[in-house]
Symmetry: C2
Subunit: 316 residues, 2 copies
Amino acid sequence: MEFFDKVGKSALGSRLRLMTAVVTDDAAKIYELYGVDFVPKWFPVFYTLTEEREITITEIANEIGHSQPSVSKIIQEMIAAGLIEESAKTEDKRKNNVVLTEKGILISKKIKQQLEDIDVAIEGIIAESKHNLWAALEEWEFLLEQKSLIKRVSEQKKKRESKDVKIAEYKAEYQEAFRTLNVEWISTYFEMEEADYKALDNPEDYILKKGGKILVALYENEPVGVCALIKMNNSEYDFEMAKMAVSPKAQGKSIGWLLGKAIAEKAKELGAKKIYLESNTILKPAINLYYKLGFEKVFGLETPYKRCNIQMELVL
Amino acid sequence: MEFFDKVGKSALGSRLRLMTAVVTDDAAKIYELYGVDFVPKWFPVFYTLTEEREITITEIANEIGHSQPSVSKIIQEMIAAGLIEESAKTEDKRKNNVVLTEKGILISKKIKQQLEDIDVAIEGIIAESKHNLWAALEEWEFLLEQKSLIKRVSEQKKKRESKDVKIAEYKAEYQEAFRTLNVEWISTYFEMEEADYKALDNPEDYILKKGGKILVALYENEPVGVCALIKMNNSEYDFEMAKMAVSPKAQGKSIGWLLGKAIAEKAKELGAKKIYLESNTILKPAINLYYKLGFEKVFGLETPYKRCNIQMELVL
DNA sequence: TACATTTGTATAACTAGTTATATAATTAAT
DNA sequence: ATTAATTATATAACTAGTTATACAAATGTA
């Protein structure tokens, strides 16, 4: 199909669907050719029953990768066709153990030669082709099991978008964003405290003039994340990392990670050896991020914030 | 899936179906991830509309390999969603030309980045794998277009079964089969004639004792095909190939071909240079077979059979 | 020019699966 | 010994396609 060359790989689902239709349409004709009264969709269930003497519906479903209702319906059709029957000898009355009937066993023998012919025909196509479809499907099953397509796409999205995120130095025009973004999350989870207002309303005086720094993450030139480095005096630490906030609208772009990395870098530039932070364990994604950035738990320092129940440090 | 290793290639349809389900399930989630109000199945139609400014439903269906009703339904859904609209400016009133609306154009722009991300993600999987699924699908589309799966399987069936066909010399026990098989086809298409009864009721006297031969095709030890070589005197031909009959139950096993080849071989053994046959053009498969065996049309010989309207010879 | 055939679309009914949910039987937990 | 949770199955309702068919418009032909 020329169409798929134009569209690109994102039409993989459509391409697979068409090939599936082509193959399964012929499957029905093949049973006809061999004069077997059999519906192609029965095959995986039927095959399982020729292997396992007795097996429940749910077990079959797991074995062949169908949903349980799908197998349930197929079983009913095959019972109606006289190929299988319920086998009463089970203690668990919920279970519906099924086995092949005489007729079923007969058909399984009749079908055997047919399956071999199909196998040879498909092997023939594989031999004719450069790229092995069967092996490719097997690999894809494995690779998508490891990491699903949605996961892979979402990672790619993050990667691309984080490239468009710029980390900039604080300017007066970002004061409103600095305040809003922080008020947003603080008041969602906690109460705003005195110390918060001071720093957020007047970062110039309370952070920058005291030797601190503020970085802003810009996405499409809009400030979507902020983080501050606050000078600590009379302490083993040089700076506290604080007031980190990312707009919920800009989630999934690794903005927290980029800000954290940039802040650590900035601290190093300023000659710092160790930085410190305070947080609360109910902020699980934040705590995770801190660990990823290399922070480790420390204990016993004083803090003006009620909401603090975890303290961490990063050795630069 | 372990299952597929056990079952073998004949479960290719099932394997494709499962992979299709896995991929298309994630496709829906991907649109959600990008916040686009869009149904995956719309995509091929939508894509075509972004390429072609104006296009009819049937043209779209051909382009993307769907049935026309499928596209018809998708178009209706997309019109309801406000993505496309009917474009009145067509003379042919049967045609329903459709174009993207403003909203549709907007979404096509929004979707662009998403498609690129999917493309990158899928390219990633292809890069991770040894067997290229995308390329394999392309090859299979081509190869199955050239010769369908049912055709390939049916050829394999024929090939295998013809191996189980044995060509044997005539024995008295085959007289009944020789008669029945011939009466069957002759009386279906024509009337039995005097010359038929003579030869069929008493092949010993009328064929063998006069220097002719009869060969019998056996499948599972049952006679399923017969053919005679009748000595011709006072003629440029050494033998006439006649009374060829194959049981309809044993069709598709190349029995006619095997008998014809064996008869020609036998004639050569007996020192013949040219053999002759008479037939009727309404027996198309038979005439085809004779051509395949190397016979060519000749004209103007006398014949005792009313049903004869074509005469052929084979130079050995 | 009138009639038959072809073309373009829509609709109905089907297929092979799915998810959601109800029910009964069994197992686990207090 | 109850009660709660889990398991096995069946059923209903949905999805993304299909084929068969009806109907109107356009085209071809005697």
